[in-house]
């Protein structure tokens, strides 16, 4: 199965998110109150390592293991980053988790978080349905 490798990266990602408490509702409360450096340290150092890695990949023209050129698609700007971004941020602070942590929390045994995931699926569907009518 060619997809197993992505499952393994996911296991690492989910384990780290959980053990560093980035999945915790309590840490999100703390972050949005600027009462600890913890979450900023996680996000900041992840970005620093990501940025350096991408710079190295580009500089040395590193290829993917299947021989393809590595492509990083541009994110297109739209009003969605402003309106959708604000709505997402409000949901993140209200439920105390973003999508990655939601999956990890269910794995950690927090069954009611399944309701949050089902609701997020409905929200995604609702956006898809309303997309032609929304400003972009």
């Amino acid at each position: 199965m060619k997809n197993i490798k992505f499952l393994l990266v996911g296991v690492l990602f989910g384990t780290v998110l959980t053990k560093t408490e980035a999945v915790s509702w309590f840490r999100i409360q703390e972050m949005f109150r600027f009462q600890s450096f913890h979450m900023y340290g996680i996000i900041g150092s992840a970005i620093a390592v990501g940025m350096l890695s991408i710079w190295l990949i580009k500089k040395f023209k590193v290829k993917a293991i299947n021989g393809e050129e590595i492509e990083i698609a541009d994110k297109q700007f739209s009003k969605g980053q402003i309106i959708g971004g604000t709505i997402f941020g409000m949901g993140w602070a209200l439920s105390g988790a973003c999508p990655g942590p939601l999956y990890a929390l269910v794995g950690a045994g927090y069954a009611t978080i399944l309701i949050v995931i089902l609701s997020a699926l409905f929200g995604t569907w609702l956006y898809s349905y309303l997309k032609p009518k929304l400003p972009h």
Binding site: F32, A64, G91, L121
Partner: protein, 187 residues
């Protein structure tokens, strides 16, 4: 060693591991880190209903579903197998602010006096778990990504629309935390 792994992992260990997943995904599969896309693929697979935005070959994005299934398993590894049973050590001032919201359970990763089945069937629970979830799904897709795709992958690859998105994630988060949520959590 196992005891050490069971301790909470400091940010300077976890942040770089999260960051290194970016080149790992690029090198092993030419894939860009992103988690909220899995919600779109699920909608496309189970409820496309002739909606233009959900008409695409979601099967070619199966890697993303395996990735999030891995995150779920990682939650089990980190939250069950490596659980040391201690409360999250948030700052004293946060503890006080949370108590002022009427929350008194500090065990576990989320407060059990909110995230339980009884609370779900109340106005408060519906707002926190259902409305919050809808906003997460609607907002992330409208913004074109969430914390992973925009904050980590997008900023790492120097994409200014991602920086705009993250600024507004925070504007929304601060507005909710300081202005709206205090009313909802008091219900």
């Amino acid at each position: 060693m196992l005891e050490l792994l069971k301790e909470p992992w400091p940010w300077y260990v976890s942040g770089p591991i999260i960051g290194i997943s970016i080149p790992i995904l690029l090198i092993i599969g030419n894939k860009m880190l992103g988690i909220s896309s899995s919600l779109r693929h699920t909608c496309a697979a189970v409820a496309p209903f002739n909606i233009q935005f959900l008409k695409y070959n979601w099967k070619s994005e199966m890697w993303n579903m395996f990735f999030v299934a891995g995150i779920f398993l990682g939650g089990f590894v980190g939250g069950v197998l490596l659980n040391n049973g201690e409360a999250v050590k948030i700052s004293e001032s946060t503890v006080n602010d949370i108590k002022a919201m009427g929350i008194n359970s500090f065990d576990g990763l989320v407060p059990s006096d909110i995230f339980n089945w009884d609370t779900l069937f109340s106005i408060k629970g519906i707002l926190i778990m259902v409305l919050g979830g809808i906003m997460i799904g609607f907002g992330s897709r409208y913004a074109g990504g969430c914390t992973s795709g925009h904050a980590i992958m997008g900023i790492s690859s120097l994409q200014w629309p991602s920086l705009v998105a993250v600024i507004f994630f925070f504007i929304g988060g601060l507005l909710m935390t300081h202005v709206i949520a205090p009313f909802i959590y008091q219900l």
